[in-house]
């Protein structure tokens, strides 16, 4: 079906004046939400773990036609939820063609469109916006100005059009008017300067604003949504309380409540399906990766006000797989199976996502990270092997047994070494791995047991960097760095 292209055609279409004139964007969000609720499907696809907590509160806010704010620490899907509000907008929204602020054809607010409709009447051309075009997002920073957000006087526009500076036609619109008839999201709201926050609540409450001293009436139709860190969102923080007062609903987000929820999010977000290799990430590796974030959120060496983003396990998982992939490429293995050692290799994906307290800074990010991984392994190991007798394996080490594994060594080579540890391979069935499984799986499972025993301080573990040699050269006398030492002279005997 072709869409109406003039105001006259629009009046005779389903986009009638009765339906559109007084239908604000918040009504539209509400109208589209209600059938979704009746159908009973997910309202925000891809959002995991908020079904009983955050989602019902957002639904209530939308049904109440509120502007709302999501308060939460980093990596709690706040921006993602705000972006998914576009799924509640109409597939097409008609506006007066060429209008910078996407005016409603039946109730234009800018002078240009009012004059155009008065002049052309039913012949006024109409265009359409998709839901994505109706979503504007701005990350607040202290240097954001009224000009960025609301608008400014454009002297060139005034000169070219022969208008007074005070004329509405000289205004260059900012982001907020350009989001008219859509959703405007401001991330990290308290970072906006006080003056801008005042400008915002003027627009939200009164529909007017002053630009360079000229009052401007802008009764915008916008659903304004915000996100902020709860620490900053207090009177002691950087929020202007009158603006806070005008935000209808304040909704708190949170981190995944269970390891299983975290694993689902990580599995959904991490880039794991890579071409060329078959990948199998054992469940215990997934759990260890997820637990690193859980343990970090509880650890006193990690700053709790900053939080530990869900991006940590996502990036960690990607790096873990990459390390396993690198090993598989090197040894031309067909199956990529990450090992626990790969989690240590993924430390670059972890350290940058932790804000440390003083004690943590003193210890160093690397040491804190190692400690977190160790704790995560210990807890995961307990889930599988709690109460199981590991004495035989521990005894092998107590009697002087040692094993040295390289994180780049191929599975076949490592498996041969691991088989030498008495009783170790007998424990693998607990991880659903048997002797008939591939060597990659067996190595990964056996290494998990060793790492678990180390995490519980039953065996020792040390990391070292050693030289790898390509070929052996015939023995020569030792030489010093840089210069050849003269041949040793026989010592002259005293006396």
């Amino acid at each position: 079906m072709s869409l109406p292209r003039t105001l006259g055609e629009l009046r005779r279409s389903p986009f009638s004046e009765e339906r559109l004139r007084s239908r604000h964007v918040k009504d539209e969000l509400r109208d589209n939400l209600v059938p979704k609720l009746r159908q009973g499907g997910p309202i925000f696809p891809g959002i995991v773990g908020y079904d009983d907590t955050v989602v019902p509160q957002i639904i209530n806010a939308i049904l109440s036609r509120h502007n709302f704010i999501l308060l939460g620490l980093r990596g709690q899907a706040k921006s993602r939820i705000l972006r998914s509000l576009t799924t509640l907008l109409d597939p097409q929204a008609p506006y007066i063609e060429g209008c910078e602020i996407h005016d409603n054809p039946y109730a234009p607010i800018c002078r240009r469109c009012r004059e155009l409709v008065a002049q052309d009447g039913d012949a006024t051309p109409i265009s359409y916006l998709s839901p994505d075009e109706r979503y504007v997002e701005k990350l607040a920073t202290p240097d954001v100005t009224i000009a960025d957000l609301i608008g400014d006087i454009d002297p060139i526009k005034a000169a070219r059009g022969g208008h007074q500076l005070s004329s509405e036609l000289t205004v260059h619109y900012g982001l907020l008017p350009r989001a008219n008839r859509g959703v405007f999201a401001i991330n990290e709201l308290p970072d906006l300067a006080g003056k801008i926050q005042v400008g915002l609540f003027n627009i939200m409450q009164e529909g007017d604003v002053q630009i360079k001293g000229y009052p401007l009436r802008l009764p915008l139709d916008v659903a304004i949504v915000f996100s902020a860190n709860p620490e900053d969102y207090t009177a002691r923080g950087k929020i202007i309380t009158p603006l806070k007062d005008r935000i209808g609903s304040e909704i708190r987000t949170h981190y995944p409540a269970t390891i299983e929820e975290g694993i689902s999010i990580t599995a959904q977000e991490a880039w794991t399906q890579r071409n060329g290799y078959k990948l199998h990430v054992p469940k215990y590796v997934q759990e260890v990766i997820e637990r690193v974030a859980f343990v970090a959120r509880e650890d006193k060496k990690v700053d709790k006000r900053s939080g530990v983003s869900q991006r940590l396990p996502i990036s960690c998982m990607e790096n873990v797989i990459s390390n396993a992939e690198r090993r598989a490429i090197h040894h031309e293995e067909k199956l990529v199976v990450p090992r626990i050692g790969d989690v240590y290799a993924a430390m670059p994906a972890i350290t940058g996502k932790l804000e440390l307290e003083y004690e943590g800074e003193m210890k160093g990010a690397d040491n804190v990270c190692r400690e977190l991984i160790r704790m995560a392994i210990a807890k995961t190991y307990d889930d599988y092997f709690s109460g199981m007798n590991m004495q035989q394996v521990v005894q092998w080490f107590d009697l002087g047994g040692e094993i040295q594994l390289s994180d780049t060594a191929g599975a076949a080579e490592v498996l041969q070494a691991l088989r030498g540890i008495q009783g170790l391979m007998d424990k693998l069935p607990k991880l659903a791995v048997g002797p008939k499984d591939s060597s990659e799986l067996q190595v990964s499972a056996a290494e998990f047991i060793l790492e678990g025993l180390y995490a519980h301080k039953r065996i020792g573990r040390s990391e070292e960097r050693v030289f790898t040699a390509g070929e052996k050269q015939p023995k020569r006398p030792e030489a010093g760095f840089g210069r050849e030492e003269p041949p040793a002279r026989p010592r002259r005997p005293f006396n």
């Binding site: 080490f397 047994g401 040295q404 594994l405 780049t408 301080k457 039953r458 790898t468 390509g470």
Partner: protein, 55 residues
């Protein structure tokens, strides 16, 4: 690339060095009481004693 290098034990080698490799060594657990002690735990354990001593 032929290089004279010192290995991880400090010996001078004339091997053809192709790179350094990270290795993990699992061995008998040897407790390290000093390494396992947290300063914070130690201070909280000693706090009563320090207060009583008038420190």
């Amino acid at each position: 690339m032929k290089n004279l290098q010192r290995d991880h034990e400090g010996r001078l080698t004339d091997l053809l060095v192709v790179g350094r490799m990270k290795k993990v060594r699992y061995s008998k657990y040897v407790p390290d009481p000093a390494g396992e002690m947290s300063m914070e735990d130690l201070l909280s354990a000693l706090s009563d004693y320090l207060l009583q001593s008038g420190f």
